[in-house]
């Protein structure tokens, strides 16, 4: 995308420079065909069609799929903390640390109890808003056990900057231990 963007930018500025330094002997004929049909309409239509299809295919791949070993967690945002609950361990609530199994797809059911927040773990998925009264579902999957940084990405007042959390991805044994209530 960046390379394409740079190429288009260079092309447009190249044309502009040529137009600026050109000194036609007489006023050229208005070449509507090339300037408006080909460059004005054709070029962006072709580029955008390709780009949109690419984006949709990529987006489709990121979509949650039906899968048997799906883990579901609840993420509830407030000014300025996150609390996480686990459908596999009712009653278990963690604050500002989300525990997930590594290598398994996880659905995060995101909501808020006060203002609009946004759930964002850059290395695991794009962001999704936490809106009071609504539950948005985000599919994440950590490839390997480890700690992943997360943060809110919707302005929420004075504590917005510190409104962060971490995601702990566990191997199978550690995940089971966590669900059993071990720290």
């Amino acid at each position: 995308m960046l390379a394409g963007g740079v190429a288009i930018f260079a092309f447009v500025l190249g044309l502009l420079t040529a137009a600026l330094v050109r000194r036609p002997a007489r006023e050229g004929d208005p070449a509507t065909g090339i300037w408006l049909w080909t460059l004005g309409l054709g070029l962006p239509l072709a580029t955008l069609a390709a780009l949109t299809v690419y984006g949709l295919v990529m987006g489709e791949r990121l979509l949650p799929r039906e899968t048997p070993d799906l883990v579901t967690v609840e993420a509830e945002a407030r000014q300025w903390a996150w609390s996480f609950a686990y459908s596999d361990a009712p009653g278990l609530v963690t604050v500002d640390v989300l525990h997930i199994p590594a290598g398994l797809p996880v659905d995060v059911r995101i909501t808020s109890v006060d203002v609009v927040h946004s759930f964002w773990v850059p290395r695991l998925a794009g962001k999704l808003d936490a809106i009071p009264g609504h539950v948005n579902v985000l599919r994440i999957e950590a490839q390997a056990p480890g700690t992943y940084a997360g943060q809110s990405a919707e302005f929420s007042g004075t504590g917005y900057r510190e409104h962060t959390f971490t995601v702990e991805a566990h191997g199978p044994a550690a995940w089971n231990a966590f669900l059993q209530g071990a720290p």
Binding site: G40, T52, V116, A153
Partner: protein, 831 residues
């Protein structure tokens, strides 16, 4: 006639017209003037002052972010500063600045003497000055809004923003939007009706097309925002739960209303700048615009498309996937008309021979910047990418590329280009070039660094950041470069100020431009043209360089000054045939006074002084009636001599006076506002979590009968009145209309009485707004009918034009009342 005789005629005409169009002497003249030159200059200076304030706020932000862990500001101050920076730049600078430019230039371009409603323009100016000043004073008192310029509830609701800040935003900005709507109505009617003889639509200067499109966009995009502000302010003040989930509201409703406005807003800001580019660039290339029709079509399609993509600001709110695909495709599609414009401009440069003057330099700065902004915009339209960079500094950088590159740079080019017309002087010192070479490179350094910081994950709206995340160097570079840029902007303002007072007197039309505004003297006099020009092509000065002289000698229309009043020509909308003579109002303090009471009624609720607000509203009604009354001519003139052997009617005696056209477009905005209300109702009903409400409203028979009967009476009365005017019998119809409005008012009251607690559920609150819409418009129509009755009592015969204006409002009231009450009753009738 010999040469001296010729100039003698021109000079005599100049002296007479200058006297007729002169403002009042002394400082009082600034308060009472309504001439587009005076109002436009004031507008421009005030908008520039707000640009300086917004710029200072930006420097505070960059000072804070220059180093990690900065102790310069805490989050409380920082949140106010970035909220105000966005608000000031968008609402107090960008929109008023192009409005000012079009007020100053449009009459000249169109070949007319002033805008359609000079007093409305003056009123808009004063409302803007009062509203803007109130917002700035609140900021200096530490009471600025701090919820972001987008004001998302519930963060901005009373529960989470208890102070005055959010109210300052909602009331102050709404009053400025009202001013923008006033100006938009004025501009639309001017472009459609006030032009030179023979200037058909296809012969209009390209800027007139752009500003026409923009004005219609303002009329359709601002009303959703005004409704949103109204809902939020009512929720904050009276606890009507439009955005509170537990009582049937939904915070997402605000986001929809806000972005229904917010996205078109981007193009409302870009298109006037594009219009300036399309005007200036051909002159700088000593040629004409390549593909005039293409560019007009591109501007119109950009406007239409921009209304289809508000959702792209909400990609992360959990919109269904199919919706995302649609809006993603629509978002990328806007690049197509933009690309048509860009290549038309480069093609124009290609076919001409470019001269590297200061305006051209700024246009090159535009190209280099805006193309990058457009490309990062396309990247943002791709959903997976958007999910990652949304709310990071990447978006900040993108929008500054688009807004500064796409708006500020072309507007600076425009100020330099039109400087001879606005001030009578041309550039003298070399300061302008120095300023350019400071601003543009520093801009790119600043915002390229901000792009990268965003890609590295730096979030927007965080008041500081920690060390060790790789952002320190980028932020320091951005901050240093931004201060260089600020110095550059200061030099631009200084340069223009110096030129204004000490530049060289330029010769007429120093750029050899081809459009009519350059046929006026330097600077353009208050009366604009000594006679209304006759044009036979799109570029009147191209084939006819002597046109300016002939206009000055009075060889166009309306050169006869014997009627001793401000007159200009109205033409047929499409063909440009002269069709009416319009008498424009003279100097008056009324617009200023009306702005004072309007602003009072807007700002009094800040201090919970609702009684003062109500009192001021009564003042608004009284002043508005005096205003209209004084403008209505006392006697009928019949046809008057317009020059060139033509006899034309006076506009106020025709069936479609300017007031009728103005009402038509004001009602367009009103209709969109009402449509947004219905949209909000439907949205809450289908999407908000706590619906349906405990009970619906079951209609009784009598209010339904009143509503239908009232609407029918109100729709019929003005139509019957048109026939009655010929026979001199209007009282029965006036009475019939009045009864209709009262019946509608009673039906609206029945809704409120049946559901006395609008704070209990969003459904009840919506019912009150629907009923309020009916009651408000019924009252308005009643006042208009009352005005006609008073005219009759005072012994004036009613005019067809007046009756048709009231007819428009009556029709609108009748139709939307039935829709509003129907929407209120329907669920209960079937549920």
């Amino acid at each position: 006639m010999n040469q001296t005789g010729l100039h003698g005629t021109a000079l005599r005409l100049h002296k007479t017209l200058a006297r007729i169009w002169a403002p009042d002497p002394g400082w009082r003249g600034w308060l009472t003037t309504s001439n587009n030159n005076d109002i436009g200059r004031l507008f421009l200076c005030v908008a520039t002052a707000f640009f300086v304030i917004g710029g200072l706020l930006a420097m505070l932000i960059r000072a804070q972010l220059a180093t990690p862990g900065s102790a310069f500001m805490g989050p409380e101050a920082y949140n106010q500063v970035f909220t105000m920076h966005g608000t000031v730049m968008m609402f107090l600078f960008a929109i008023p600045f192009f409005e000012a430019m079009s007020m100053l230039l449009l009459p000249g371009m169109l070949g007319t003497r002033d805008l359609a409603f000079p007093r409305l323009g003056a009123y808009g100016l004063w409302v803007y000055i009062f509203g803007g000043t109130a917002v700035i004073i609140a900021m200096l008192m530490g009471l600025a809004p701090d919820g972001g310029w987008f004001m998302y509830p519930p963060l901005t609701s009373a529960a989470f923003s208890p102070g005055l800040g959010a109210d300052v935003w909602l009331l102050g900005i709404t009053s400025i939007e009202v001013s923008a709507i006033a100006t938009a109505v004025e501009v639309v009617v001017t472009v459609l009706r006030y032009r030179a003889a023979g200037m058909s639509l296809s012969r209009m200067p390209i800027f007139a097309w752009y500003i026409l499109v923009v004005s219609v966009m303002i009329l359709t995009a601002f009303p959703p925002m005004i409704l949103g502000s109204l809902l939020l302010e009512v929720e904050r003040a009276l606890d009507w739960p439009f955005f509170q989930v537990e009582n049937g509201g939904d915070p997402l409703l605000w986001q929809h209303l806000f972005w229904l406005f917010g996205h078109p807003e981007v193009y409302i800001i870009f298109l006037p700048a594009a219009g300036m580019i399309a005007t200036i660039l051909p002159v700088m290339a000593r040629t004409t615009l390549l593909g005039y029709g293409w560019v007009v079509a591109a501007a119109i399609s950009l406007a239409v498309l921009s209304f289809g993509l508000w959702v792209h600001h909400m990609f992360t709110t959990g919109i269904p996937h199919l919706g995302l695909a649609f809006f993603s495709a629509a978002s990328t599609l806007v690049a197509v008309p933009t690309s048509v414009m860009i290549f038309s401009w480069i093609g124009t440069l290609w076919k001409g021979r470019v001269r590297m003057e200061l305006p051209m330099l700024w246009l090159i700065g535009f190209f280099a910047t805006f193309v990058i902004g457009g490309l990062t915009g396309v990247m943002l339209a791709i959903v997976p990418f958007n999910w990652q960079v949304h709310d990071t500094h990447f978006v900040v950088a993108h929008l500054h590329y688009v807004l500064i590159g796409g708006y500020v740079f072309p507007m600076i080019a425009a100020v330099y280009f039109f400087q001879p017309l606005l001030t009578g002087r041309s550039s003298f010192f070399r300061l302008g070039g120095v300023a350019f070479w400071l601003v543009v490179p520093a801009f790119h350094v600043t915002f390229l660094a901000v792009h990268v910081a965003g890609l590295l994950g730096q979030r927007r709206r965080t008041w500081t950041y920690n060390e060790g995340q790789g952002w320190e160097v980028l932020n320091l570079v951005a901050s240093v470069a931004s201060f260089v840029m600020a110095i550059g902007f200061a030099l631009v303002i200084l340069d223009i100020a110096i030129n204004t007072f000490a530049g060289l007197r330029g010769r007429r039309n120093q750029w050899n431009a081809t459009t009519l505004e350059w046929a006026a003297a330097n600077p353009s006099p208050n009366y604009g043209f000594a006679s209304i020009p006759v044009v036979r092509g799109r570029y009147p000065l191209l084939k006819d360089p002597d046109l300016a002289l002939r206009i000055a000698k009075g060889e166009g229309y309306l050169a006869d000054t014997s009627r001793n009043r401000r007159e200009t020509l109205i033409v047929a909308t499409t063909t440009g045939e002269p069709s009416q003579v319009v008498v424009l109002p003279g100097n008056s303090i009324l617009p200023f006074l009306l702005a004072v009471v309007t602003s009072t009624s807007f700002l009094a609720p800040l201090f919970k002084a609702y009684w003062l607000s109500g009192l001021a509203l009564v003042g608004v009604i009284i002043l508005a009636l005096i205003w209209v009354w004084r403008l209505a001519p006392a006697r009928t003139e019949g046809l008057v001599d317009a020059g060139h052997g033509s006899q034309l009617p006076i506009a106020s005696e025709t069936a479609d006076p300017p007031g009728w056209w103005g009402s038509l477009f004001l009602l367009l905005a009103d209709g969109v506002h009402f449509g947004s209300l219905l949209f909000g109702y439907a949205f809450l009903w289908t999407v908000a979590p706590n619906w349906p409400p405990p009970t619906y409203l079951s209609p009784e028979l009598w209010p339904v009968v009143l509503a239908v009967g009232g609407a029918v009476a109100l729709a019929l009365a003005p139509r019957l009145m048109l026939r009655g005017i010929e026979r001199g019998r209007v009282w029965p119809m006036l009475l019939m209309g009045a009864i209709g409005t009262l019946a509608l008012g009673a039906a609206a009251a029945s809704v409120m009485l049946a559901r006395p607690d609008p704070a209990s559920h969003a459904f009840d609150a919506t019912l009150w707004l629907l009923a309020g819409h009916v009651a408000f418009h019924a009252a308005l129509t009643l006042i208009m009918l009352g005005y006609l009755g008073l005219r009759r009592i005072a012994g004036h015969s009613l005019r067809v034009g007046e009756a048709r204006i009231v007819g428009l409002w009556a029709d609108f009231t009748a139709a939307t009342s039935l829709l509003a009450l129907g929407a209120a009753w329907l669920p209960g009738a079937f549920g």
